[in-house]
Symmetry: C2
Subunit: 396 residues, 2 copies
C-alpha cells in the first residue's frame, strides 16, 4: 500500500488541535483506519470536555489538552485510569505541539486561536496540516517566512487548497499562471440585497453541499469564506493577487483548478467530503485506499459555473481589498468577521451587517505595513473592539 | 524557464515521423518556438513531397525521408542546395529513428504504418512521443513489453491520454482506480441508426470541436476513435479493462479524468488545441510558456456529461470486445477499420457499414492469443482482405 518514498520504519506521530470540531472528529475517523501508519500523540479541545474524554478513551492518544481550565479536574478524573497525560490552558497547546514524538500537527482550531500554536509547531520543525485558514489570513507573510526559515512543509486541508495542492503534485518546478478557487455560492446564491435583509441564522446555517462547523458555514453564506481562502491561497502558493480568481460552481464537484504557463489546467474533483483532503494532507505524497462514496457523472450531468456577485456579497471584495493593502489589513478584516459572525448567530446584527461592519472595521483599524507578531496581536484586538462597538450600536 | 531537472547542456534531438500531417505540422510549429531546447534531426512524409520540401527548407532538419520512392528524385533535387540528407522508402523510416542524435521520436504517422518504426525506435532506446495510437491498438502488449525491456518511456500525444498522463505526474506511486476518457460524441451525437443511414463523408468530416486529419475525424464520428483510445489507454497505463470508462462531454474542455484509490479525481482541462499535448510530450516534466488562447469559464458556463450510445455506435462496443478477447482481436479490428473508413470516404460503403464490417471482420479473422510481430502482420493482412471483400460486396 505504501510507496517506496514512505518511511515504513516508524509511524507518523500526530497532534490534532481542535479534535472535537468538524475537522477534528473526521480526522480521528480517518486515522483510526490506518493504525499501522499513524500514531496519535495529542488531541485538544477548547470547551467540549465530554467529547474530548470520549475521544481520548476511544483513540488512546498519549496526551490531551483542554483549553478551558475550569474543566481540567473533570477531564483528569475521567481519564485517570488511562495512561494519558492531561493538560489545560492555552499555553499548553503551544507546548504539546513541540513534543519529539509529534511529526505532523493538524491545526483544526477555529479562528485566530490557531495562530500561536501553529507558530510554535513551525519553530519546532513540525509538518503542518493546515485546517485553520485564519492562521494564514491573519499572518500569512509571517507564517510563510517562518516556514521557509525552518524548512517546514504546510499541507492544506481546506478542500479548495487541497485541490490546488493535489494538482501541483509533480509540477512544483512549473510556475502557476493562475488558480481558480471554486465556490458553491452558498445558500443565498442569486439573492438580491433586498432578499438578504431578513435572513435568519437558521437559514444561513443550511449549506447546500458541505457539512461544516457554524462559523465556516456562515462564512460560506456571506462569501467571506471564499475571501479568506483567496488570502490563504496567496500565502500557501506564493501567488500574486491577480493570479487568484474565484468562480461559483454550485455543485461543489470541481474543488479548484490550476492553470499553468502552457495554458493547461488541472482540476481536482469528487463528491464534497472533507475526509478526503484531511487524509491527503496526512498521507501526502501517497494516497490510501478508502471506501468513501465515489463520484459518478451520471448523477451530475451538468457542472455549471458563474461569476460571484461581488455587489451583493461585499465580503469577497473586502478580502481582495485586504490582499491589495497587505500588512495587517487581512488581520483586521478577519478579527472583525469573527465578531460579526458570532453576533449574527446571537441575533444581534443582521446578515448584511456582517459585511458592512467588516468593511468599516478594516478601514478604520490602525494599519501596520510590516507587522511583527505583536503588531498582529494588537491589530486583532483593536479590530475586535471596533467591531463590538458597531455591533452594540446596531443592537441597541 | 527550464527546471533544474532539465538537462540544459544539450538540446533534445527530435525525429518527427509524419511531419506533413495535422500533428506533424503542429509539432513543427511548437518546436520552432524553442530553438534553444529542440534540435530537429529528422522529418518524414509518406506522399506529400512538396510540403516535406517546404518544411525542410524552413525548419532545417539534418535528414528527410519521403516514403513514396517515386518522389525521391524530386525531393533530392529540391533540397540539394541545403545541407540535408534525403532518403526514400519505408525501410529508411526504421533506420533514421535509430540515429544517435535522436533522443525523442514523435510518431505521427497514420494507422498501422507507425508500428515498425516505433518498434525500431524503442529497440534503439529512444523516448517515444506517441501520436500514432494504432501502434498500441495493434500490438499493445508487444510494445509495452518492449518498452519495459529497453527502459524506454512512452509519452502520449493524444489529448485524452496526455490528460491522464498530466494528472498522473507526481502520482506514479499511487495506483489508478479508474480512468474516464472523455468523448465529444462527434457530429452525430444523439442521432438514431435510422438518421445515420444516409450520412455522407462531408458531414462526417465536420468535427464539432477538434481540427484533425480525415481518418481520425471519421473515427470520431463513428466513436471508433474512442474505442481505439480505450485500447491505447489500457497499454499506456497498464489498466484492467474494467478500469476504463468513456463519458461523452460535448464541449471537449475536460480532456480526461483519473480516479485514485482514495476516491480523489484529477482532470486536465483547456480549450481543444492539439499543440498543448504535443508540446507537453516533448517538454515533460516541464511546461513551457505559450500564447495559446486560454480557457474561460465565462465562455463555458455549462460542462455536460452523458453516456455514449453503444447501441448506435457499435464500434465502441467492438473495441471493448477486442480488449476482452485480447491477442490479435484489436489488430484485426483496427485493420478492418482502416479499410472501411477509406471505403466510406471513397463513397463505397455507408456510414453504418463501417462498424458492421469491422465487427464481422474481427469475428472472422484468425485469432492468435499470444502473437509475435509476424502474427500481427499476418492478422493485419488477413483482416484487410476480409474487409475489402465485404466492401466490394456492399459496393457491387
Amino acid at each position: 500500500m505504501f510507496s517506496t518514498q514512505t518511511d515504513k520504519s516508524s509511524k507518523k506521530g500526530l497532534a490534532i488541535l481542535g479534535s472535537t470540531g468538524s475537522i477534528g472528529t473526521q480526522a480521528l475517523e480517518v486515522i483510526s483506519r490506518y493504525p499501522d501508519y499513524f500514531d496519535l500523540q495529542v488531541i485538544t479541545a477548547q470547551k467540549n470536555a465530554s467529547l474530548l474524554v470520549e475521544q481520548a478513551k476511544k483513540y488512546k492518544p498519549n496526551c490531551v489538552v483542554i483549553g478551558d481550565e475550569s474543566a481540567y479536574e473533570r477531564v483528569r478524573e475521567e481519564l485517570w485510569k488511562e495512561d494519558i497525560q492531561v493538560y489545560a490552558g492555552i499555553d499548553a497547546l503551544s507546548q504539546v505541539v513541540t513534543y519529539q514524538e509529534v511529526d505532523t500537527v493538524l491545526t483544526a482550531l477555529v479562528g485566530y486561536a490557531g495562530l500561536r500554536p501553529t507558530i510554535e509547531a513551525i519553530k519546532a520543525g513540525k509538518t503542518i496540516a493546515l485546517a485553520n485558514k485564519e492562521t494564514l489570513v491573519v499572518a500569512g507573510e509571517l507564517i510563510r517566512d517562518l516556514a521557509r526559515e525552518h524548512q517546514v512543509e504546510i499541507y492544506p486541508v481546506d478542500s479548495e487548497h487541497s485541490a490546488i495542492f493535489q494538482c501541483l503534485t509533480g509540477e512544483f518546478q512549473n510556475p502557476i499562471e493562475k488558480i481558480y478557487l471554486t465556490a458553491s455560492g452558498g445558500p443565498f446564491r442569486g439573492w438580491t440585497r433586498k432578499q438578504l435583509e431578513d435572513v435568519r441564522p437558521e437559514q444561513a446555517l443550511k449549506h447546500p453541499n458541505w457539512s461544516m462547523g457554524a462559523k465556516i458555514t456562515i462564512d460560506s453564506a456571506t462569501l467571506m469564506n471564499k475571501g479568506l481562502e483567496v488570502i490563504e491561497a496567496k500565502w500557501l502558493f506564493d501567488l500574486k493577487n491577480e493570479q487568484i480568481d474565484v468562480i461559483v460552481h454550485p455543485q461543489s464537484i470541481i474543488h479548484s483548478i490550476v492553470q499553468f504557463e502552457d495554458g493547461s489546467m488541472k482540476a481536482q474533483m469528487g463528491l464534497p467530503d472533507m475526509k478526503l483532503p484531511i487524509q491527503y494532507a496526512l498521507t501526502y505524497p501517497d494516497r490510501f485506499p478508502t471506501n468513501f462514496p465515489r463520484f459518478s457523472f451520471l448523477d451530475y450531468p451538468e457542472l455549471t459555473f458563474e461569476q460571484p456577485d461581488r455587489e451583493v456579497f461585499l465580503n469577497l471584495d473586502a478580502a481582495f481589498e485586504a490582499l491589495k493593502l497587505g500588512g495587517t489589513a487581512a488581520c483586521a478584516l478577519n478579527a472583525a468577521n469573527e465578531v460579526t459572525v458570532q453576533s449574527f448567530l446571537d441575533h444581534k446584527i443582521s446578515f448584511l451587517d456582517i459585511a458592512e461592519i467588516n468593511c468599516r472595521v478594516m478601514e478604520q483599524t490602525n494599519f501596520v505595513q510590516k507587522p511583527d507578531y505583536e503588531a498582529y496581536v494588537q491589530v486583532d484586538s483593536e479590530a475586535r473592539s471596533l467591531a463590538k462597538n458597531y455591533v452594540e450600536k446596531a443592537f441597541s
